[in-house]
Each structure stands twice: as C-alpha cells, then as structure tokens.
C-alpha cells in the first residue's frame, strides 16, 4: 500500500513507541499536521513557542527515560528550537526534533521561511539528517531514534522538505536498526575493571562522585550504584544533574558537590585519595580550579563517552562503557575476588566527614518578617516529601537552593538545566513531565525573571488542563546575577532588577488558573497546602528576601578547600583567571 511521506512520519513515530509529540505548525509542516489530524494514536501538544516544545520534550524524556519528540516548521520554527536543542545536547537528553523545510528544489534559494537548519543545528545536536528521498524517510527517522537514545543520549534533528513529505512511498515496519558506522561502546575492558577493583580495595579516603549518566543509564545503574556504595561503605556525592541517581535520604549521601555544593562533599572531594566518577564529566562548576582539584586522588572514571575522559582532568583508570554494565562488571570482580576495603581507614575518613558535616553548611538565618528562600524550599520539601512529586527548576539562585533543600530519593524526579543553564527551561519542562505523569504532582521551582522567559506556556497548560504548579521564588531580582554583582562588581546592580513585574496572581487568573501569593513566613505552609490541593494549574508568587545570597560557595577560580560558608567570608575571585570565568 502507498502512503504519503507525512503518513510515513506518523507511522514511524508510532512504531518507535511515541505516543505524544510537542509542536507548533507552519507552512512547511502542514502536510504532517494534516496527517496528525487524520489519526488518533499520536497525541499532539500545541505549545506557544518552539523553544518550549523542546524543553517539554526534555522534561518528558528525563522523567520517563524515553525519547522526547518535537515537530516544528521551517525557518523561524527551527531557529526557535535551537536553544532547546543546545540544552538537550549539554545535558545528554534524548530528543528527536522533526523540522519542516522548504521543498528540495528551493533549498539554497533564500525561499520563504528557509533556514539552513542542518547547518545551524549541526553543532547543537548529536546528529542531524536532511531527508531528500521519501523512500529513506522512515529509515532515517528510526535511525534518529536509535542515535538519540543510544550511547550518550542527545538531540537529533530530522529536516523534512515539504516535497518529500508529500511524495508517496511504501511503508514497511522496520526491524532492528544497526547503524553503518555508529557503534557506542557499552562494556569496559575487563583488565581495566580489575585494576579499578584493586585501586578501590586500597582506598583510605575514597569518594563516589556520580552524575547525570547514572540517570541516563537507567534504574539498573542507580541500583548498582547503591550496591557499590553498600559493599564499599564509601561516601557518595552527586552533581546537579545526578541528584536522585543516589538516594538523597541515604546516610552515605553527603550532598551535591560543586560551586554551591555542600562543604562536606567538596572537602571530601579535595582530600580524597581515590575517586570513582560515574557518569559525571568534571564540569568546571564541579571542579573549581583544576590545579587544586582532588590533587592527590587516583581517579577512576566510568563514562559511555570516551571524549568525556581526560578532557579537563587526567584520569588514572578510564572505564568506557554504559554505567550499569560497568558497575555490574566491577561488582562481579569484587565478589569473585572477595574484595574488602581498608575498614580502619574508611572509619577514620567517615569521622572526618562527620566533622565537616557538623559545620552545617546549609544553615541560614531565618526571619520572622520576610520569607527566606531557603525556608520556603524547606517547607516545600517537608510538605511534598511523601507525595508522588516531580520537580523542575528554572535557572538562578532558586535553582541552587532547590538543589540544596529539596531531596531526591529516586531518579527521574528532578529536571533542571545544568549544562546550558537555560532560564525558561523549567515551566515547559514541567508540562512535559505532567504529560508523562498525569496523576503526579509536578512543581516548577521558578525565579520571577526566568518564568517571564517562557510564560506564554500558561496558555498551553490551560488548554490541556495540565495541573502544573509554578512556585515562583520572587525576589524581584535576577538574583544570581545580583549576587555576582554584589561579590565581584562592587554592588553595582546593572540591569539585574526585574522591573515592571506583572501581578502573577492576576496573570494566573487571566488564564483561568489559580493564583496564590505569600508575603510572610507564616503564610508559606498555607500557600503550599492550597497549591497542592488545587486540582489544576497554579501560579504561586512567593515573595522572598530580595538580597539573600546562595552559600556555601566556591569563589570562581578557587579550589574546593577554599569554600566560603557565608557573607562574612571573602568571596572575591582568587585569580585573574577566576574573574573571567562565567
């Protein structure tokens, strides 16, 4: 039987297990929208800006482990998607983005709504395809799914000229996709695994440092990581992306590390003698000054992407492969060899870590009159911790406080823009999470400035009755920018005041949503309770202390051991180099 290219697109998506796509129509994709109209297996969610479509797909992907799918038109549709694609690339989120394109005979002619989508998205995708032949359409889309989800996941663009989706072809369900050249390595070399076990046996001040790779690898990886922690008794720290990959309520968990991580995890990283990195890429926000990064540690790194190894930090034992497979191999060797750790040394190490923990680095001065952002998040955590809840965030101070004060006991519950730091990520991502988990509570912890960047999606959540809760930590500042200006630019708050804010409660109501506001600490619990209880979308405007700073903090260009605990400490950049860091 003959099908149009558009019908083939829909069939191929369904055959790849897709049940929902996030998109926005336009001239170049009209035939595909027509095909969407004529069926009812595949659900389409109409966003209000293409960037939001990609973030929604990311939220969907991150909270389910499946591939998120996006459909946008040519030209401005594709260029609007670029931020989302870059975000997905940086955080290794599997996304397939179908972009419309002008007909093949017009490509290169500066046709109406033509953009060089393949050229523009080449550096911000894991791979991209231009389909010029309708007979290759189905195979290419299936290959895009394979590339997006295998190895180190990432976004893949498939550019679809209008004549190709209008042409006719046969359709056959494809078997297993084997790519001609793309072969992700999945299992580490056995001899390197043996070496790693030997090193771990001898460790006196060890640390396990795990990242987003644990979550991408899947629940098996999280379980095996727990087992590794159990059999060794080692402390575990997570990156921002890795939160939930190891249970936050576990006594061996010592908190997030990095610029705003806990004192105990950063000090332990600095002093450790053996480090086991799992699915973490030694990002500059994590390492601080490289020459002071874990200076005496022997390092083991488990990563599926060879290019993540020895990129910033020299690693002694690289284990290239899927985190779950490598952890499994490691534990098998550990059992076979009946390995043990240096119990006495590990005990001493834990005593040291407990001393650091006692510093209580997240303590803050609470107030009776103004809502401290930390307090609001503590209450949010307390009142939601027993619920089936997912959190997303925007980018800024609120994001860091959320990472510090919320707690994640399982993977997939925490969605944040780590690598790119995209303001405007959290709200559309929350929509994607809510679509995937219609019965769950989904909360976007937002800053007022970030929320402004994608608040057009209020219309989307209203249309689809998505009961997403936007919890705005409203400090009327681009707080993170203001904090850096306070520390590094003499308190000159250039353009960081969020002037002319809307009345968020009235704004919510304008969309027929519920709006809530708290201005005093004693209103916070009621606001949260009402927000949770409401069976529909809510915008909660929580007016927090304007000048609060995020601590602890490793000043830019400093080492982990130079962490600052509060504003009495000097947080100026340590070096000239530090001053130019972002």
């Amino acid at each position: 039987m003959r099908f149009t290219g558009s019908e083939v697109v829909i069939k191929t998506l369904i055959d790849n297990g897709v049940d929902v796509i996030f998109g926005y129509p336009g001239g170049a994709v009209l035939p595909i929208y027509d095909a969407i109209f004529k069926q009812n297996e595949l659900r389409h969610i109409l966003v209000r800006h293409e960037q939001a479509a990609v973030h929604a797909a990311e939220g969907y992907a991150r909270s389910t482990g499946k591939v998120g799918v996006v459909l946008v038109t040519s030209g401005p549709g594709a260029t609007n998607a670029v931020t989302g694609l870059t975000d997905a690339l940086m955080d290794s989120i599997p996304v397939v983005c179908l972009t419309g394109q002008v007909p093949t005979h017009l490509i290169g002619n500066d046709a109406f709504q033509e953009a060089d989508t393949i050229g523009i998205t080449r550096p911000c995708t894991k791979h991209n395809y231009l389909v010029k032949d309708v007979h290759k359409l189905s195979r290419t889309i299936s290959e895009a799914f394979y590339v997006a989800r295998s190895g180190r996941p990432g976004p893949v663009v498939v550019d679809l000229p209008k004549d190709v989706v209008n042409a006719e072809t046969n359709y056959e369900k494809l078997g297993k996709i084997e790519h001609r050249s793309y072969r992700p390595v999945t299992h580490a070399e056995p001899s390197a695994v043996e070496d790693a076990v030997t090193l771990v046996e001898s460790a006196e001040r060890p640390i396990i440092y795990s990242g987003g790779g644990i979550i991408n690898s899947g629940d098996r990886a999280s379980k095996l990581l727990k087992e590794l922690a159990r059999v060794t008794g080692f402390p575990v720290t997570n990156t921002l992306m890795g939160l939930g990959g190891y249970p936050g309520n576990d006594p061996q968990f010592i908190g997030m590390l990095g610029m705003h991580g806990t004192f105990e995890s950063n000090m332990a990283m600095h002093d450790c003698d053996v480090m086991i990195a799992v699915g973490a890429r030694f990002d500059d926000r994590v390492t601080g000054r490289l020459s002071d990064f874990a200076p005496v540690a022997k390092k083991i790194q488990i990563d599926i992407d060879r290019s993540s190894i020895n990129k910033n930090v020299f690693v002694d034992i690289p284990l290239v492969g899927d985190a779950a497979n490598v952890l499994e191999a490691f534990l098998a060797v550990w059992k076979k060899r009946k390995s043990t750790t240096n119990k006495k040394a590990i005990e001493n190490w834990w005593e040291q870590i407990e001393r650091w923990r006692k510093v209580d680095c997240l303590k803050y001065e609470n107030s009776q009159s103004t809502i401290k952002p930390q307090y609001a998040l503590q209450r949010l955590h307390e009142l939601t911790k027993d619920l089936d809840v997912y959190f997303t965030t925007e980018v800024g101070q609120h994001q860091m406080w959320a990472a510090q004060f919320l707690r994640f006991d399982e993977p997939h519950r925490w969605m944040t823009s780590g690598g790119l730091g995209t303001m405007g990520y959290g709200f559309p991502a929350a929509m994607g999470v809510q679509i995937a988990h219609p019965k769950s509570l989904v909360i976007d912890v937002a800053g007022e400035a970030s929320f402004l960047m994608n608040m057009q999606e209020l219309s989307t959540v209203t249309q689809y009755r998505l009961p997403v809760k936007v919890f705005i930590m409203n400090n009327e500042y681009m707080g993170m920018v203001r904090q850096w200006q306070e520390f590094f630019h003499g308190g000159r708050y250039a353009e960081s005041y969020t002037d002319s804010l809307p009345d968020f409660v009235a704004l919510a109501e304008a969309y027929g949503m519920k709006g809530l506001r708290a201005t005093k600490p004693d209103e916070v619990d009621d606001l949260i309770t009402e927000m949770i209880a409401h069976d529909g979308p809510v915008v909660a405007d929580v007016m927090v202390e304007k000048m609060e700073n995020v601590f602890p903090m490793i000043p830019a260009g400093a080492g982990h051991h130079e962490m600052k605990l509060g504003s009495d400490d000097d947080v100026a950049p340590r070096t000239e180099d530090g001053m130019v860091l972002v």
Partner: protein
C-alpha cells in the same frame, strides 16, 4: 602531573597525522571542520577524497597539533561523530608514509631558468608546463621537503604555489 586546558601545566605540543574513514555523505566534512573550529583545535592541513566507491566511503587526512591530552580529545571527539567509521592516528601507530603534492609557478628566463631546473632535479620535482617566461613544477614529497623546495625557489621568481595538504598511509601488512 596535572594536565589541563586552561592555564595549567601543559606538556609539549605534538604534531599528529590522523586519518578518518567516513561515510561519503552530505555534510561530513562540515562536521569535521565544525568540530575543529567549534572546539578551538588547530588544523594544519586537511584533505578528503572518496576511497571506496562501492561502500561510499571517503578518507579524510588531517594534520593537527596540540598537547597529548588535546590530541586524545580530538580523536575521541572525531570518533563520536556519527558518520565516522574509524579514526587512525598514524603518528601513534608508528611507521607510515606521508606525502604532499605542490605545484609551483616560477617566472624563469635566462640564468634563473637553468638554476630552477637544476634545483628541481635535486628535489625530484618535474617541470609539467613551460612557456618562454615561466615554468610549472610538480613536487610530491614530505611536507618538510616541499617547504625546503619552496624556500629554494623563492629567490628564483616564484609567482604562485598550490599545495594539497598531507595524505598518509600506514606501512606493513596489517589492516588498521
């Protein structure tokens, strides 16, 4: 002991010749070039041509330089590109043959003409075109030899140079 990208002790800069076997498809070269420009790596030379028509494979040969850590990064990054089948570091793999071709157009009359022909002979270059006032030489050799030949021709009326960049291949019977 610590190797890093910014401001940190960097071991010596090495020059490597790397061959990539790639799908001969639209955009592959842009991916490779984009990788180098996007990540700030050096490209000293780059050549590309189809080497297997049936299997639609091309070979890209590139010469790059950087610290050991950067070279390893470059290879890992190249290996990550979806249409790349194989990355071969010829410099690391040991004995290999490197060749480059250059064409030199020289204004040459009288004594200079005889002199340039004599030097060409020494370098094993061939005159492939000749007019009353000019010669075109072709030389195929290592990059060093080409540089040296060009230096010699400079004072003898060198007008224009075209070079292909390096192509290279391993030695012996082993399949890479």
């Amino acid at each position: 002991m610590i190797h890093g990208r910014w401001g940190i002790e960097v071991s010596g800069v090495e020059r490597h010749t790397i061959a990539c076997i790639v799908d001969n498809e639209f955009g592959v070269l842009a991916r490779v070039v984009g990788l180098f420009s996007g990540r700030g790596y050096n490209i000293e030379s780059l050549t590309v041509a189809v080497v297997d028509v049936e299997r639609e494979l091309s070979r890209i040969t590139l010469v790059t330089s950087g610290t050991r850590m950067i070279i390893e990064q470059i290879k890992a990054q190249l290996g990550r590109l979806v249409p790349i089948h194989q990355v071969i570091d010829l410099t690391d793999e040991g004995p290999h043959v490197e060749r480059e071709l250059a064409l030199l157009r020289v204004e040459s009359t009288g004594e200079k003409r005889a002199e340039s022909l004599r030097i060409a002979e020494v370098f094993g270059a061939r005159a492939v075109d000749s007019t009353q006032e000019s010669l075109v030489f072709e030389i195929t050799d290592t990059t060093d030899k080409l540089d040296s030949f060009i230096d010699h021709m400079g004072p003898l009326g060198l007008i224009e140079i075209a070079r292909t960049g390096v192509v290279a291949i391993g030695r012996g019977a082993e399949v890479p």
